[in-house]
Amino acid sequence: MNFYERMMSLDRRWVYLVIGVVVVMTAIYPFRVPLYITPEARSVYDFVESLTPGEVLMIGVDYAPEVMAELHPMSYAITRQCFSKDIKLLLCCLHQNGPGMVEQVVAQVAEEYGKVNGTDYVYLGYKPYPGITILAMGQNFRIPFPEDYYGTPLDSLPMMRTITNFDNVKAIINISGGSGTEYWINYANGRYNAKLAIGVTGVMTADYYPFLQSGQIFGLIGGMKGASEYEYLAEKGGYISKEKDQLVASKSMPIQTTTHIVIILFIVIGNVGYFMTKGKK
C-alpha cells in the first residue's frame, strides 16, 4: 500500500483526534477574529434600536438545548438590548423541550436589570401544535395562553392590559432551531401581516434568503456567526460587555475559524488522495 492508499484508508478516529486537538488548542489559546457585519443581522439590531421605551417586542423562542450554542447567544443579546432600552418583552416557546431555555434567559437577564414579571415582560410558556398556536395568538393571546408560564392568568398581568394580539406588538423575532420558523412566516406574517425577523441555525440560514428578498422577513440572524455579529453591535451600543462575560458566541468564534481551516484542508487532502489513487484503479 503506497502513501496515498494508506491516506485514503485512514481510521476515522485519527480525523476525530486532529479535530479534537485543534479545538482544544484554540480554546486554550484563543485569538480575536475579525468580523464582517451582514446587512441582514444589522437590520434586526437597527430595528430593536429604533424602538422606544414602553413599546412591546415579541420573541418566539423555538429551540431546544441541542442548538443552544448558536441560538442562546441571540436570545441573551436581544433580551439585554431590550431591557436596557426599557422595551417590554412578550415571550413564548413552541418547542416542547425549549421552555426551560427561555426561563433561563429571562430569569437571569431580568434579575440583572431589575425587571418585573408581568410589568416589564411576560413569558407565555409552551403550547403544542405551533401552527395552531400562532394562528390563535393572531386572534387573541388569551386563546392559546389563558395563563402565563407560571400559572398566572393573563388578564391579571398589568402589561397584558393593552395587548390583545399581534397588532399590539411592534414586531416578532423568532429564534428557532427547527420548522417553527416556517409556521411564523406562513401564519404570523402570512395571515396577520406581523412584522417578522428570524434568528436561525447555520444549517437553516441559507434556506430563508428568499423570504428576506421578498420582504416577508425584515432581518435574518444566521447561526453562530450571526449571533456574534449581533453581540458585536450590542457591545458597541453598550448593551453587553466583554468584562461581564456576556459575549457568548464571540468566545467560540476562534474555534470556528481554526476548525474550518482544518476541514478545508481535509477536503483538499481527501481529493488529492482520491485523484492520485484514481488513476491506479
Binding site: A27, V67, L135, G202, Q213, G222, G223, S252, T259
Partner: protein
C-alpha cells in the same frame, strides 16, 4: 462560582465527557448518559405538558365551570384508541378534525406565502446599466432555470435542456452554500461545549489551587 454550582457543573462536565467517549468506541459511560437524557427529557416534557397545556387549557376551565371543554377532552381521549386494533377506528373523527382543519388552512396560506409572494418577489426591474439591475436579471434567469430542471414531463433537450443545465448549476451552488453553512452550524455546537469544559476546568483548578 459557589460550591453547589461547582458540583453541578462537575456533573455536567462528566456527562459531556461521557458522550465524547463514544468517539473512541461505544462504552457503558456513553450508554448511561444517553439513556439518562432520554428519561430526563421525557419527564421534563411530561411536567411542561401538564403545567403549560393540560392545566390552563382543560383542567382549570373545567374547574371554572366551562363544561363544554369536556367535548374536546373526549375527542382527545379518543385519540388513544389508536393503541387498540379493535377500537382504533374511534380515533379517526378526531384525526379528521385536526387534519381537515390543517388542510383547509394550508391551501390559501401556502399558495399565498410560498408561491404567489415568492413569484411576485421574482418580478424585479431588469437592465444592464447598473449592478443591482444585472443581479436582478441573474436572479430571474436562475429561478426559472432551477424550476425548469424540476419539470420532468418534458425531455431536457435543446433550449429547455440548456435552461435545465443552468438550473442544476444554480442548485449545486445553493447546495454548496447549504453545506458550508451546515459545517459552521455543526462546528458551533462543538465549540460551545469545549468552551464550557475549558471555563469549568479553569474555574475548578483556580478554586482547588
Amino acid at each position: 462560582m459557589g460550591t453547589a454550582e461547582l458540583i453541578w457543573n462537575g456533573v455536567a462536565a462528566f456527562l459531556v465527557l461521557s458522550i465524547y467517549s463514544f468517539l473512541y468506541k461505544d462504552n457503558p459511560f456513553y450508554k448511561f448518559a444517553e439513556h439518562l437524557v432520554v428519561g430526563v427529557s421525557a419527564g421534563y416534557f411530561a411536567i411542561i405538558l401538564y403545567y403549560n397545556a393540560f392545566l390552563p387549557k382543560l383542567i382549570n376551565p373545567l374547574r371554572a365551570g366551562q363544561y363544554w371543554y369536556i367535548i374536546p377532552g373526549i375527542l382527545g381521549l379518543l385519540m388513544w384508541a389508536r393503541f387498540s386494533r379493535k377500537w382504533q377506528w374511534l380515533s379517526r373523527p378526531t384525526l379528521g378534525f385536526v387534519i381537515g382543519g390543517g388542510a383547509g388552512l394550508a391551501i390559501p396560506l401556502y399558495l399565498q406565502n410560498y408561491v404567489l409572494r415568492q413569484l411576485s418577489a421574482t418580478m424585479l426591474p431588469v437592465g444592464f446599466t447598473t449592478w443591482p439591475l444585472i443581479r436582478n436579471v441573474l436572479i430571474i434567469i436562475m429561478v426559472f432555470c432551477a424550476l425548469a430542471y424540476f419539470y420532468f414531463s418534458k425531455q431536457h433537450k435543446g433550449a429547455f435542456g440548456g435552461a435545465a443545465q443552468i438550473g442544476i448549476w444554480t442548485l449545486m451552488v445553493g447546495f454548496g452554500a447549504g453545506f458550508g453553512m451546515t459545517v459552521m452550524g455543526r462546528v458551533a455546537l462543538l465549540a460551545e461545549r469545549v468552551v464550557f469544559l475549558r471555563d469549568y476546568f479553569a474555574t475548578l483548578l483556580s478554586t482547588l489551587f
